[in-house]
């Protein structure tokens, strides 16, 4: 049997693939954070709660209205995104002129309120969301058994990541957005409704978190605290990639998935801290992040 660093090659490839799958998932979540920070300069600590809301939206749509996974995949991000629009319009907008730290505190408070409310309603044990029929089962890759649903997560995450990057970096709308956040007064003079753009961007970022939640619902237990652990990891990913860098968030997400995956094989006890170790090293060596534009 071929061995790679003391682990059978087959097991090694399996873990590498799993790392990539989790990485795609991290990429999707950090993308939303990066979009919100990059364009709005809001440190959105409610991202984990909004991810959880996405999962719950899918669960409640199925339980109460019988709306299936495929519809929820679109509907849940729209519902939660609309909630994001309300949050931006009535809360965040009031504090845009003061230090970013207030935005952080506000969204952190919101996250606690949302999580607490859901804990009160649903308890913490969580609920099961079934894997949609078309995506059940798995494929034997020879070196591992790959559940089809996991492959689906990677595919969706990568497509969405690419589309968002393209939208923001390569289209005219994205150009307006970037210009609007750079110099809002000038853009408004050109007749662009910047406040509306900002509101919609926040709603879009929140929608991305909710999409992550819907994707996660069938593989994890849908519970009020599902977002709180993930949020910190995803923030570390964003910091490593460079705050606000979209490419950075995507590539770092994939990379950290693999780093964490391999840690789970070689020293599982450290798997919850390895990403933070990387973060500390990156902050020491390159404070603006791997893909950040130096400050």
């Amino acid at each position: 049997m071929t061995m790679i660093f003391g682990v059978p090659a087959a097991a090694f490839y399996g873990q590498l693939l799993l790392g990539l799958i989790n990485g795609a998932f991290y990429a999707l979540l950090s993308l939303g954070l990066a979009v919100i920070f990059g364009l709005l300069k809001i440190i959105n600590f409610a991202h984990g709660a909004q991810y959880m809301l996405g999962a719950f939206a899918a669960y409640l749509l199925l339980e109460t209205l019988g709306i299936n996974y495929w519809v929820a995949l679109f509907l849940a991000p729209i519902i939660v995104g609309a909630l994001g629009v309300v949050i931006e319009r009535f809360l965040l907008r009031r504090i845009t002129h003061i230090d970013h730290i207030y935005g952080l505190l506000l969204t952190f408070g919101l996250a606690l309120v949302i999580q607490g409310t859901f804990t009160n309603w649903f308890g913490v044990s969580g609920s099961r969301y079934p894997v949609p029929e078309a995506l059940q089962g798995g494929i034997n890759l020879g070196f591992m058994y790959l559940p089809i649903y996991r492959a689906w997560i990677v595919a969706v995450a990568l497509v969405v990541c690419f589309a968002v990057w393209f939208l923001i970096e390569k289209t005219k709308l994205g150009g307006y957005l970037r210009a609007g956040t750079e110099n809002s007064a000038l853009m408004q003079a050109f007749g662009v409704n910047v406040p509306l753009l900002v509101t919609l961007t926040y709603g879009f970022g929140v929608g991305l978190a909710a999409l992550g939640g819907v994707l996660a619902a069938p593989v994890y237990s849908v519970s009020p605290d599902m977002g709180s652990n993930l949020l910190i990891v995803v923030f570390a990913v964003v910091v490593i990639g460079g705050m606000g860098s979209i490419v950075g968030a995507i590539l770092t997400g994939l990379m950290m998935g693999i780093v964490e995956g391999l840690t789970k094989v070689y020293y599982p006890e450290a798997s919850s801290v390895v990403i933070f170790l990387v973060m500390i090293i990156v902050l020491l060596v390159r404070p603006s992040g791997l893909f950040g534009k130096g400050t």
Partner: protein, 406 residues
Amino acid sequence: MKMMKTALATAIVSTLFMGATAHADGHKISDNELRIGYLADMSGTYRDLAGPNGEEALKMAIEDFGGKVKGKNITVMSADDRNSPDVASSTVREWIESDKVDMVQGLVASSVSIASTKVMNGTDTMGLVNGSAASSITNEHCTPNHIHWTYDTYPLANGTASAVVAEGGKTWFMVTADYAFGHALESDVTRVVESNGGEIVGGVRHPLSTDDFSSYMLQAQASGADVVGLANAGGDTVNSIITAGEFGLAQAGQTVAALLLFLTDVHALGAETAQGIQLTTGWYWDKDAEARAWADRFYDRTGARPSMVHAGIYSSTMHYLKGVEATGSDKAADVRAWMADNEINDMFAKGGYVREDGRMVHDMYLAEVKTPAESKSDWDLYKIVRTIPGDEAFRPLSQSKCSLVK
């Protein structure tokens, strides 16, 4: 100067006598009421298995007892321990020193129970531990002030692991939560598996509250072990089982043995996902008519079926109140002595008794999760496969490291 000394001594001695006569009068319920503190995880991972519904079970016991003991009112205060031993010990200290709490009920995370009972040790306050798993609570961490009621890791390993080995699960891969409780359970399981002729062929230790178990399940699969033993709890166990199903461990012929699974976890998983899993429990709401009747009343108040911990809280509170009534005292030493002298026969246990190490010994049950076809409602989840007699289930006193055992 000498006069003053004498006067002072007289005053002190007479005050002491006053205290003594007050006691002799039989006014032994301190502060004219019985105060109970309910300490549990009210908002975190262990909320559902004890939490707010546990406080409800405590209140049910007080109401059923008549609301008063020896004609004195019973008051309840509660606090969230946030699963932190520091928060727990400072809360208990405050309860004892300023609020004069006579009994602390609940006590869920093992670390919380160990820290809290250390604070109670030597005071007049009694602790009734119901949520915790670690068997060390009545072993190296025993105190004369507390009783461990519902279950512990010793019978969990004894019940489930020996049943699985007997069915041919000889080689085991352990997935263990990397903290005190996980390690305790893992070592109890190792002992049982090896003494029954099985073998532990590998394992991983994962951090508490891990979201993604796919890597561990893949390692478990690669190990080729007959059995994947889960020595974790709550959300970690639920996510492990979901992922094991997703990666087709059962189809490949591997058995998943969850060593600590609460009714609330199985309810979250649903019969479809959890069917066939064997587990050990201290109580089940549908085990007999008496349990069912109590569970129905609990359901009417909370909208959920009680876990074994909820039932244990009710049962132990009832036994405690009877002890206060019978002895006319709320001092931990008096009540505990009464509780140990009197058998427990209620909806929770038949012929249960409290040992000198503080362990309440009662029958445990090996259960199997029903299939969706067998399950008639969403809480109809277990069939009891075997009753494990109390003396066989718990750690024998001959192996005890408790300083109270002579």
